[in-house]
């Protein structure tokens, strides 16, 4: 029972990370049809800069962790907004060029991060409580998992409330369904594009800071390795569906954890198999719209 509890809660923690990255990807693709391969770079730059800020003011306090999360969100949001305004905006409806530009940006940014921070991981410390464990049903659960789950749940709730109750949220929901009709109602949908990129970048930035505590380090490749699973989560959840991304993130991460433990480290393979099954049985994803 303790093993199951450990795998389940660790899976939820990892799922929280996947969700933070996948939420932005899903909204960006759903609204704009852009496959953003540079999304992992938003995560990595945020994690590095947040780590730089936290270590300068003393990384072991809750205040510095809070500030690091804020820095991560702001950096992620700004870098994402800049990417949309400077690179993506010129390439709407030109999907091949979008892929080339975002893949190029992702590769170049990893090289840039390696140039600035080196190729070795930079180890991260935080408040002492995060390094401790809590006993749940006999399992000793690392406390950072609880932080991940709580922050991801808060981000999910905030995004859902934003989408449900604000004018921009209404524009984004309508745009995911029929972008050209939103334009035909006299709405400048490009502002929504920039906003969605900013929100997605901020969520990825928060994810980057939390990922550094989950793994214990920041590395130039961290974003790229999480991005692969975030794409899988996005497709399984249904492109454009935030709730779908949350659900799929939990499914993917929990299955990954259980398969790694019980099936001899086959977690990644099981995730790919799950993706194949979903694509065959329900191509629009768990909560994606028909057509």
């Amino acid at each position: 029972m303790s093993t199951v509890a450990l795998l389940l809660i660790t899976g939820l923690g990892l799922g929280a990370l996947y969700f933070l990255v996948a939420s932005g990807l899903s909204l960006i693709y759903g609204l704009m049809g852009v496959l953003n391969f540079a999304h992992g770079s938003f995560l990595t730059i945020s994690a590095f800069l947040a780590w730089e800020v936290a270590r300068r003011i003393g990384a072991d306090s809750w205040g510095s962790l809070g500030l690091a999360l804020l820095v991560g969100a702001v950096v992620g949001g700004i870098v994402a907004a800049g990417t949309e305004l400077l690179l993506i905006r010129r390439l709407y409806e030109r999907h091949i060029e979008q892929v080339l530009v975002t893949v190029g940006l992702a590769l170049a940014s990893v090289a840039l991060f390696q140039g600035i921070w080196g190729t070795d991981p930079q180890y991260v410390t935080g408040p002492a409580w995060l390094a401790q464990t809590t006993d749940v049903l006999g399992a000793r659960i690392p406390n950072n998992r609880f932080l991940l789950i709580a922050v991801a749940a808060a981000v999910l709730l905030t995004l859902l409330l934003f989408l449900r109750y604000t004018r921009f949220g209404l524009v984004i929901r309508a745009g995911v369904e029929n972008r050209s009709m939103v334009t035909a109602l006299g709405i400048d949908v490009r502002r929504a594009f920039t906003l969605v990129f900013t929100i997605g970048g901020a969520a990825a930035g928060i994810g980057g800071v939390l990922a550094s505590h989950y793994f214990g380090y920041v590395s130039p490749e961290m974003g790229a390795s999480l991005l692969i699973f975030a794409f899988i989560v996005t497709v399984i959840g249904g492109l454009g569906s935030l709730a779908g991304a949350a659900l799929a993130a939990v499914f993917v991460a929990v299955i990954q954890q259980f398969a790694n433990f019980y099936l001899g480290g086959t977690g990644d393979i099981m995730v790919v198999l799950l993706l194949a099954v979903v694509l065959l049985v329900r191509p629009r994803g768990l909560l994606g719209r028909r057509g």
Partner: protein, 242 residues
């Protein structure tokens, strides 16, 4: 107001992908009345409307009350006062009726009373998802989105398409009321509806405007009606969409 040109289209060409679907179309839409675009299936009627709005690639000159709008993006054209009711309604199925209406509101004082007066059923169904409405109700919602704002002209594409005769009558009656408030450029396949609403006609054939003038003259000339549209003057429908 009648007589002043609210919308002038000169040499409009439009394409979908690489295919030319409208070529050198020219006509005026006077204020205070309904101008209908007629033509056979695939003639280029819907593409003309989309070309005016910039929803598809186009060239040529489009002027709204004397100001060129063909260089503007679609959202800016609409904000200048060109309301659009698309073919097939295109309501946002996952949003509620109230959300669909709220999304369309551009003006500080949207004309909710007019919508409530014309389509009271929509107000009672505010919390219902638009995708669960009947075809007629979706058409009312689509029309309402355009009516909420103080537009200078409405471009309405096939408002009676796929509706029962009873609903067609309701929609036509509503458009008669609307036409008193704002001029309309109407694409209509139902000839009876066009006859009842339109003061002027533009006939499009193979992507080109071949006739533009008073509706009464055209409807009186049965032979020309058959030649151009393939229907008799008493026919309902038969004229298709592009």
């Amino acid at each position: 107001m009648t007589g002043e040109v609210v919308l002038r289209v000169s040499g409009l060409s439009a394409r979908i992908g690489h295919q030319q679907v409208v070529e050198d179309v020219s006509f005026d839409v006077p204020a205070g009345e309904v101008t209908a675009i007629l033509g056979r299936n695939g003639a280029g009627k819907t593409s003309t409307i989309k070309g005016i709005l910039g929803l598809i690639g186009r060239s040529g000159i489009v002027e709204l009350e004397g100001e060129r709008i063909d260089t503007l993006a679609t959202d800016r054209i609409v904000r200048r006062g060109v309301g659009y009711v698309p073919e097939d309604r295109e309501v946002f199925a996952s949003l509620t009726v109230a959300e669909n209406l709220r999304l369309a509101e551009r003006d500080a004082s949207p004309r909710r009373e007019l919508v409530a007066e014309l389509f009271p059923e929509l107000i009672t169904r505010g919390a219902q998802r638009a995708g669960t409405l009947s075809g007629g109700q979706q058409q009312m919602l689509s029309l309402s989105r355009a009516l909420l704002n103080d537009n200078r002209i409405l471009l309405i594409d096939e408002p009676t398409k796929g509706l029962s005769p009873k609903l067609v009558a309701e929609v036509v009656a509503a458009l008669e009321v609307v036409a008193r408030v704002v001029p309309i450029l109407l694409v209509e396949q139902n000839l009876n509806a066009a006859r009842r609403l339109a003061a002027r006609l533009v006939v499009i054939e193979d992507g080109r405007s071949v006739l533009s003038g008073p509706a009464s003259e055209f409807f009186e000339d049965e032979e020309r009606l058959i030649r151009m549209l393939g229907v008799h003057g008493s026919g309902v429908g038969g004229v298709g969409t592009a």
